[in-house]
């Protein structure tokens, strides 16, 4: 523990900017993935424990597209759509069969997919890790210097893009017909089916959207992270923590929680360098014990 260092950091503008921008980037990337998890939980009431593997799949698909086309944006798009499609197949073919089963069956079904996907990517892409996608040419420029801190241009892009996605999600949920139906389904699924809305279609759609977000997160993260089998697990745990802290099913909550975790990691790395992971779990336990519905969740969950 090094609280003095943390204090020093909070007192200098360069350190503050350094850690804040870093925390924002980490947090927003986390939000992309976690928002998918929380969206699916909100409507379908299941935790897609295989969500991290979807993230991994996104990274691999992006890498493959990149290898074929050498176009970063196309790679990200292909990963998002590809994983979205995979999500639909997963939901229709497997998950929808266990909605009425108990939690154990749902967890194990997802876990089976974690195992299968981890091996499948090895069979297809080999057991060696793959290099990152690299950043698009437009961002190949020296980093900016802001108040004594260094800020990579590409991080600004990630921050901007993720924020855009967050805003788009928010607009979708509040301004569109399907968004309203989604929120209604979170409150009362029976009512939605009573209204004559095809819930199977709705569920598949939500799963597609949630998976798409995981794929998108995976592809974007792969721009600067190496890709390997098993990379999804730490991600699903983090996403779950974000989901719990924010309130299961709450997109806004996930946004706040992801930023909170991002900042915890960023500043925690200075104050508690060896316990940043533990810190996340402690935070989650605190929330579960003190406010089980999460920061922005509805009560009674």
């Amino acid at each position: 523990m090094d609280l003095a260092a943390l204090g020093d950091c909070l007192g200098t503008s360069s350190c503050l900017i350094f850690q804040t921008v870093g925390g924002l980037k980490i947090g927003l990337l986390m939000f992309l993935v976690a928002s998918g998890l929380t969206l699916i939980f909100g409507v379908l009431g299941v935790i897609n424990f295989a969500h991290g593997s979807f993230y991994m799949l996104g990274a691999y698909l992006a890498w493959q597209t990149m290898a074929l086309t050498d176009n970063f944006y196309l790679a990200v798009l292909a990963a998002a759509l590809g994983v979205g499609l995979f999500g639909v197949l997963f939901e229709r073919g497997f998950m929808s069969r266990v909605y009425r089963g108990d939690v154990l069956v749902q967890i194990l079904l997802c876990y089976a997919f974690i195992l299968i996907l981890d091996d499948l990517v090895i069979i297809v892409w080999g057991e060696e890790f793959l290099s990152s996608l690299g950043i698009p040419d437009a961002f190949h420029r020296p980093p900016l210097f802001v108040g004594g801190a260094i800020v990579p241009v590409f991080h600004l892009f990630i921050i901007g893009f993720s924020t855009l996605v967050a805003v788009a999600l928010w607009l979708f949920m509040t301004r569109t017909k399907w968004g309203k139906i989604t929120r209604a389904a979170e409150q009362n699924p029976l009512m939605v089916s009573a209204l004559g809305i095809n819930t199977s279609l709705l569920f598949a759609g939500i799963f597609a959207l949630g998976s798409l977000l995981a794929g998108l997160g995976g592809a974007l993260a792969a721009s600067e992270r190496s890709i390997s089998s098993g990379m999804g697990f730490s991600v699903v745990l983090e996403s779950f923590i974000v989901t719990v802290i924010g309130g299961m099913g709450s997109i806004g909550g996930a946004f706040v929680a992801a930023l909170l975790i991002g900042m915890t990691r960023s500043f925690g790395a200075i104050g508690f360098p060896l316990f940043t992971d533990g810190l996340m779990f402690v935070l989650m336990c605190l929330v579960l014990v003190l406010r089980p519905q999460g920061l922005m969740g509805r009560s009674g969950g």
């Binding site: 876990y111 195992l115 779950f240 533990g278 402690v282 969950g301």
Partner: protein, 338 residues
């Protein structure tokens, strides 16, 4: 009258231990011995978890907390070189129970998926602690360098037969105890809570207290299996506390069946066998295991022993000689319907 069934269980238990001892002499392949040992260790681990999952309806995803605590406390005590095996074992189990008492007090406040992941979160904190507390735990390398296994009561656990019989015996004792818990009035109260916790409150059953006690008992038994595992490897390793160690007994429960008392034990056997056979032939063990799980979830829809039991009771039901559900097993269909 009251003790008759317990004595019957004890008699069966003694019979099983004798049979296993005989098996050791008849089948001399140590690979089979190891298979039985690991089935016992993991079987007890899974059975203890099933007290929560099957009999109480609490899906705990952090059951390895007890397992790892048992293994580490035992291993650390043995490494001092001054402890006897039974004493160290006792302390390890009590330590795990005490830890479970604290963790359980928090976890039982949460329901369903929250409970599952809260137990997982506590386990991951333990894992982080084991990894970071290098001076005590050896960090990621685990408790290395082995420890002496001083003989007690004429039992020398460094001899294969002694260790084999020790594991079999301890497992059988724990299974009898667990069966006693399940068949006791307390065990029935657990079933009532699983079926309908709301109604249980209004019958005067303090639901949370019962859940907490069951949580502590299950963790203590998990610690026993952890101790036996520590003896198997003469050490303890952080992956005992890793999340995947908690997933294993859930598989076993799924494979063997959660409605039948010994289902998880069968599940442990299947998983060990699967592990041994599959890893000999392919390194895509995960793929195979994943497909097996899918088959059980979507194809069979319950564990193997449950299937067998349902078949048997179906036939007897048709013959009109048996009531629809055994008090031991509950009834899977009825539970699905509810």
């Amino acid at each position: 009258m009251k003790h008759e069934t317990f004595l019957k269980d004890v008699a069966i238990g003694i019979g099983v231990v004798l049979l296993l001892a005989l098996l050791f002499q008849v089948i001399t392949d140590p690979g089979i011995h190891d298979l039985i040992i690991k089935t016992c260790i993991f079987g007890l681990f899974a059975l203890s978890l099933n007290l929560l999952v099957g009999y109480l309806g609490l899906v705990a995803f952090g059951h390895a907390t007890g397992f790892a605590t048992g293994a580490y406390v035992f291993g650390l005590l043995m490494q001092t070189g001054t402890w006897t095996i039974p004493a160290a074992m006792g302390v390890a189990v009590v330590a795990a129970a005490a830890l479970a008492a604290v963790i359980g007090a928090f976890c039982i406040r949460a329901r369903e998926i929250y409970f599952a992941f809260l137990t997982l979160a506590f386990q991951m904190i333990l894992y982080s602690a084991i990894i970071s507390f290098v001076s005590l735990t050896g960090g990621d390398q685990g408790l290395m360098g082995g420890y002496p296994k001083p003989p007690f009561l004429g039992i020398d656990l460094s001899r294969p037969f002694d260790y084999y019989l020790f594991v079999c015996g301890v497992t059988v004792i724990c299974v009898i105890l667990l069966r006693q818990v399940i068949q006791s009035p307390f065990g029935y109260a657990l079933r009532m809570i699983r079926d309908n916790h709301e109604r249980s409150y209004f019958l005067g059953i303090q639901v949370k207290l019962y859940q907490w006690i069951a949580f502590v008992i299950a963790s203590a038994l998990a610690a026993v299996s952890g101790v036996m595992m520590s003896l198997f490897v003469t050490g303890a390793f952080p992956n005992f506390a890793y999340w995947s160690m908690s997933a294993e007994p859930l598989f076993m429960i799924l494979l063997g069946g959660m409605q039948t008392f010994l289902g998880p034990l069968l599940g442990a056997f299947i998983l060990q066998l699967l592990n041994d056979l599959v890893t000999e032939h392919t390194r895509y063990y995960g793929l195979v295991l994943g497909l097996v799980i899918l088959f059980f979830i979507l194809g069979l829809r319950r564990g193997l022993l449950d299937v067998v039991w349902d078949k048997v009771s179906d036939r007897r039901r048709k013959a009109g000689t048996v009531r629809p559900a055994s008090p031991v097993t509950g009834d899977a269909e009825a539970r699905e319907r509810s």
